[in-house]
Amino acid sequence: MDSLLGQAFVYLAAAVIGVPIAKRLGLGSVLGYLLAGVVIGPWALGLVGTEGQDVMHFAEFGVVMMLFLVGLELRPALLWQLRRPILGLGGLQVVVTIAAATAGGLALGVDARQSLALGMIIAMSSTAIVLQSLGERGLMKSGGGQASFSVLLFQDLAVIPMLALFPLLAAHGVAHAEDHGHGEVSFVASLPAWAQALALLGAVAVVVLSGRFVVRPAFRLLAATRLREVFTAAALFLVVGIALLMDTVGLSPALGTFLAGVVLAESEYRHELEGDIEPFKGLLLGLFFISVGAQIDFGLVRAAPLTIVGLVVGVVTLKAAILYGLAVAFRLDPASRWLFALGLAQVGEFAFVLLSFGEQQGVLVPAVSGPMLAVVALSMAITPLGFVLLERVILPRVTATVGQRVHDEVESSEHPVVIAGFGRYGQVVGRILKANGIGATVLDLDSNMVDVLRRLGHRVYYGDASRPELLHAAGCAHAKVFVLAVDDPEQGVLIAKTVKHEFPHLKIVARARNRPHHYELRALGIEHITRETVASAVESATRTLQYVGFRAHTAHRMARLWREHDERLIEDLAALWGGDQNTYFAAARRASEEAERLIQAEAPRVYADADAAWDNEVLRSEDARSDERG
């Protein structure tokens, strides 16, 4: 199993088997990955050994991608809104936790330097686990989700000074050691401080400016090629490039890509980028969780089970207590408090980096860092259990008293309508919605059109609406109505199938080119289908009736009656259309003959029926009869 393909096979098999089982049991995918990792790890099947650590470092790139995606979801304005929770809540969480954990270390007899280092490690939470778990449960935009995210963001910022502090904590000066992952020490580190700061600012400027002025035109050119894989390559190139740049100047790559994401959050390619990066992020994160599971040293656990378990419980309880206290101080609602406290109580993946960095710098001794590694991994492993506890036990009780608030917030921050196709047809729908204050997320495949419409102030995104990832990114999970307004009938059916399959809750309002298209969409179970030319043709017919001499109101009523008649005809013929073209066309031929006959024969009667109320001839004859009687 040493070959690359062999390893890939093991990891993929673990994921494919473990995750669906965990999901089915309602445990969430993260726990599934972790357990799969434990199973293939050295303490169970032994399919992966020490190389698991390298895999983990590689897989950490998933966290980088995840923060890029998180950035894409956050407009700068929203980020600005979060400044209070980020600085206040995040800052306090880090400071208070470091202080408490350091005190705990001292109490357990660890020396001051090591206690402080451990405090910093323990203060970190796992961005990967928390965001994945929140996203999976649709809690990202709830009050607790936003607070959690703010704290995670601050922790990512706090890593920079921590990395700088670690060498100072070293008991005896140790030379700079090589390190993997976040804390890469590069040529920039050899520059004087002012130059380092300058390089840092320069890198940030490069990310922001290129996001504004280079990336969008470049993507426009790429989108015009209509080659999906080129676009995907460009998206990956962007993320990898930024990560490298940030690494070079000593910033966290996750932070850099997050910044890039925020800059691109208002670009029309946002959803397409999300759709492209999402699968890579998912796979890498999965890989990361599996390797965390495989890394848990059950040898240490077996040697001192009580110590390890006690430490895990102690650390998680301490963190959760501090988080809960802060949540109360910051006036989060009860449901959000618990989500916030239990969600962030684990120690994060960054601890792996800091532990090995600390060991190399001579801050931590192996006797401390070894068990700590197991504690960190175990605390991560029990987080999904915390979420299960939260969902099954705590939230039902808490939300019973505060109502549906968490749920509402998720919905209100998304557009209720998604429009696929923003040409002549979708535009009318979009404009009417906009005129009534209803927000719509728009997807279109014509990049020039997207450009023009965005200049006009529409929220339009470039992308192929038949891709499930893109539909997810466009917020279909929270939307109420999906307007299918693309002009290509085949594309329309494809999108309709995907939407029906992925988002059965969505009401679909579909545009059909003609009757066969209407029937095809109807067969998919779509509730409302409009044939694209009928309404306008009826309007022309109404006007023609008027010019011929009909009263306007009469022409209007006649047209309405004809439409009802036509709808009935369509319904009657639908039964004959079983997807078998021959049957349908034969039926349609018969139908057109029949329609002709019907229109000729039925029209005068329809007219008479409709006017019975206003027909004074009947009244006159009755009046005459009653006179005869009277």
Partner: protein, 225 residues
């Protein structure tokens, strides 16, 4: 004078078609055919309000459906007579204007009496319009009514009614109508109408020529100024 006309199927109308044709060419009268202007009943409120402001006399001509007006006139009332415009605080736009209904009914005049089959008089049945006008500070006159239209046949049958309708509109237009009397009368054609000797002669000539003339027209008092 603004004539707001409402008939959903004018092409099948017998009475209203003739009445309207008889006054369409009157100078100083703006005919506004509501069902033709708003075939979907979607009324342009601002346009309607402008029309009201531009005229001093508002006539509603319509058949009597279920002792009331055709649907579009109710919609018109609901939308056009806005609070703060037609009534309520600052709602003085219609103050002092004159209004009345010109109605055709299938039932006879005798039916619209306490002891008749319809149990109420025309004025009683028009109470909502009376009060609407009152609330809008308008002067509400007795209605002009053509009864028993089901029994009238052809231009001969309707002719006298059409002529009288035209005379009354002219009299109102030329301020020759005794408003106090018209406001208190049961029907407008019973009110004292001040008109010229010539038109009075013409009217009686028309009346004399028609054998089917209802008694209300024959007893009509025309006072010459």
């Amino acid at each position: 004078m603004l004539l707001l006309f409402a008939h959903p199927v004018l092409e099948r109308s017998r009475a209203n078609r003739r009445l309207l044709a008889g006054v369409r060419d009157l100078p100083g009268v703006t005919v506004h055919d509501l069902y033709e202007a708003y075939p979907t009943l979607a009324i342009d409120v601002r346009r309607e309000q402008r029309l009201l402001l531009d005229h001093d006399v508002i006539v509603f001509q319509h058949p009597f459906y279920w002792y009331s007006v055709p649907a579009i006139l109710k919609e018109w009332q609901d939308l056009v007579l806005e609070h703060g415009w037609a009534y309520g605080a600052g709602g003085d736009a219609l103050r002092g204007k004159i209004t009345f209904n010109a109605i055709t009914t299938g039932g006879s005049e005798a039916a619209y009496r306490r002891e008749g089959s319809n149990r109420f008089t025309m004025r009683e049945l028009l109470a909502p319009w009376d009060q609407t006008a009152h609330l809008c500070k308008m002067t509400f006159l007795a209605p002009f009514v053509v009864h028993a239209t089901l029994k009238l046949v052809g231009d001969d049958g309707f002719g006298p009614h059409v002529a009288l309708y035209r005379q009354i509109l002219e009299a109102v237009r030329d301020h020759r109508l005794d408003l106090a009397a018209a406001a208190n009368a049961e029907r407008l054609d019973e009110a004292h109408v001040r008109t010229s000797a010539a038109s009075a002669t013409a009217a009686s000539a028309t009346a004399a020529n028609t054998s089917a003339t209802p008694p209300t027209i024959a007893t009509n008092t025309l006072e010459v100024r």
